[in-house]
Symmetry: C2
Subunit: 389 residues, 2 copies
């Protein structure tokens, strides 16, 4: 297949592109490189050093003999989107190319507006380009399990059958997301569902859980192929453990979230590409393998880390339930053949060891959360250092 | 109360401002006047002549002795929003100030993107300004019944109790809207609900049905106080009857919609303002009084119009169910005291007679729908004339 990975320079986009390339697909990567700008803006470096996209692509060619074609530009530029699709002629488009951080979207008004406009307009441009150029193209869109919030009922895969006053319908699962970033994904989901319905295009919306891990078989081939180490929950705890900082649990720590290994992300995306929906179909996969509470993850890291670790509850900078029911369904990806990498002591330890290897790059100032969701403007500048998100 | 009406130069915003002024409130109107620009862009005139906002305000002062304060500017300009709120110090803000036409949003990519960015950013700016300046301000936001689509279950007021696999929760009512315009309102609703939750601000989201009628007790005081005649469904049929054009029913005409009289819009908005929600509360009122199918309305107009009328089914330019279950709940506004003006033969006849009075301003070319939802680009230019939407 010809697969174009949007956001192909990012934490997951880059290893996805390599995985698909290795699997025999013709792969292009489109990226505006703005992800690197966010780091500059926050004054942080990546924990694991990463190379420029152009160097990554060249190294992949040397290491594997395979070609990944880069397209540098922004999805909010419609003529660039059209031109790239015209040139590359993809069968499937994997869409990671959005502002991806909840706290970043909550810094202030400017960042909230930027996040929603950037994400919504980029996806609208893509929907129009697909309809205008080739409505057979399968749009594989990265959403998030966060779109659902934490309802007191089981979370189904995108739709739920509701019986109400003696009548029944299958309707979109109600959304109650926890940040302007997550809201941007909810907006996207509604726009994509509508475009499939009126234009007959096809899309898979992957509501992904929180990803942990950093290395994949392909990125391990050469240091220049490394992807960044994105600092959410388990990855963040690994860094805190490495530098001897307490693991910071927000409030009670009973927040339960769906999670998955980075290698399963790549497998899920390939499965979605290989098994496209029908024309006009909008389908949702819940893309995760396990559920953990934040408190349980902190305890786990403390138990198996090769260094002394303490756990600290800090005032919750977010507005969320700290103890709640959480049970999400995921059957569609397993039924397509997903074989999960479940979290093990060995893997938790490896994550901490990886962070220890690079701990000289960490600035402790960048570790504490700096964005308070309860106010409309947070000061986020730090003196520089890794893992600010 | 001090009430600021955003979009106060529009079809409903202007008569709402006058109604609230007459009722004894201190009223400001904010408007970018872009609604007049849309008419210029489409090459259409208003059926009923309307005056410039500044003249309207001056005439209101002469006719009633009451002052309405105009603020000319755009909600997407955050510093203008902040400055207006600082100067006017409203207790409540009534928010009509959005691109308001579904077909306009479906013309092409540029109009879809404009609609969503304009509406979403304007509302985000407002939410931030309220939180930053005075979180007691009650935001009364105009949504639409169209946000819900036409589910096969009864439509509740914003939220629905769902029992699923033995567990129960009250969740946002699932949304399945029929245009990029309606989608912009769904995005707004999610953003507002979130802002209320994290910041403790208060908002009433009025999911309004389709409004008919043009005259209110206040606009009737002087021709310079007239509001525009907005051409959706019943208003459109009145114009078609007036000029001897067949009433154009889209497809089978079984599309059932919630509707209300323009005078009830004004009453509902005042009721919402006078009965604010608690701090942090996001509530939804379904704002309509009756439900009609498009076919029934066409038959009604044909039956009572003072002229010969024919009804014609034309290919549906929209993508929607043409026969479906539809039953929406509305109890909250009646419980606050709403006394509906139900549709009568006399009122239908009056609407046609009004259109006959101004039929010399109508260009028949502007009557047929020109926007086809199934394609990504529609030609909308006409030779000029009234009622192009």
């Amino acid at each position: 297949m010809r697969i174009l990975v949007l956001g192909g320079d990012g934490y997951l986009g880059w290893p996805t592109a390599l995985h698909l390339s290795k699997a025999g697909h013709d792969v292009g990567v489109l990226d505006s490189l703005v992800r690197r700008h966010y780091d500059d803006e926050m004054g942080v470096d990546t924990l694991v050093p990463i190379r420029q996209l152009q160097r990554r692509v060249a190294t992949w060619k040397e290491a594997s003999g395979l070609t990944v074609v880069p397209f540098i530009g922004d999805l909010t530029n419609h003529s660039f989107v059209l031109e790239t699709l015209r040139v590359f002629e993809p069968d499937a488009i994997v869409h990671f190319a959005e502002q991806r951080s909840a706290p970043y979207s909550m810094i202030d008004r400017e960042h909230a507006v930027y996040t929603q406009v950037n994400n919504v307009v980029g996806t609208l441009n893509l929907l129009y380009a697909i309809k205008e150029l080739n409505d057979e193209i399968h749009l594989v869109k990265l959403g998030t399990m966060g779109e659902y919030g934490s309802p007191n009922i089981d979370i189904e895969e995108g739709f739920i059958e509701i019986t109400h006053k003696g009548r029944t319908d299958v309707l979109p699962f109600p959304k109650n997301p926890p940040s302007f970033y997550h809201l941007s994904k909810v907006h996207d989901s509604h726009n994509i569902m509508f475009a499939c319905r009126i234009w007959g295009i096809r899309s898979t919306d992957l509501n992904q859980g929180i990803v942990y891990g950093q290395q994949t078989p392909e990125t391990a081939l050469h240091p220049d192929l490394a992807t960044r180490f994105f600092g959410t929950v388990l990855n963040r705890f690994a860094v805190q453990a490495a530098v001897g900082y307490p693991l910071t649990v927000y409030g009670k720590g009973g927040q339960t979230r769906a999670m998955l290994d980075i290698r399963d992300t790549l497998a899920c995306i390939e499965l979605a590409c290989l098994n496209p929906p029908d024309a006009g179909e909008y389908r949702v996969f819940n893309q995760f393998t396990e559920q953990f509470s934040v408190r349980d993850l902190a305890t786990w890291v403390a138990r198996v880390a090769p260094v002394e670790v303490t756990v600290e509850s800090i005032p919750n900078p977010r507005v969320e339930k700290e103890e709640h029911y959480y049970n999400a369904v995921t059957t569609k990806l397993p039924s397509l053949g997903l074989k999960p990498h479940l979290l093990t002591d060995a893997h938790v330890r490896e994550l901490v060891e990886l962070a220890i290897t690079y701990k000289h790059r960490v600035n402790p100032e960048a570790i504490r959360p700096t964005v308070n969701y309860r106010v409309t403007r947070s000061e986020v500048s730090v003196a520089g250092g890794a893992v600010g998100e």
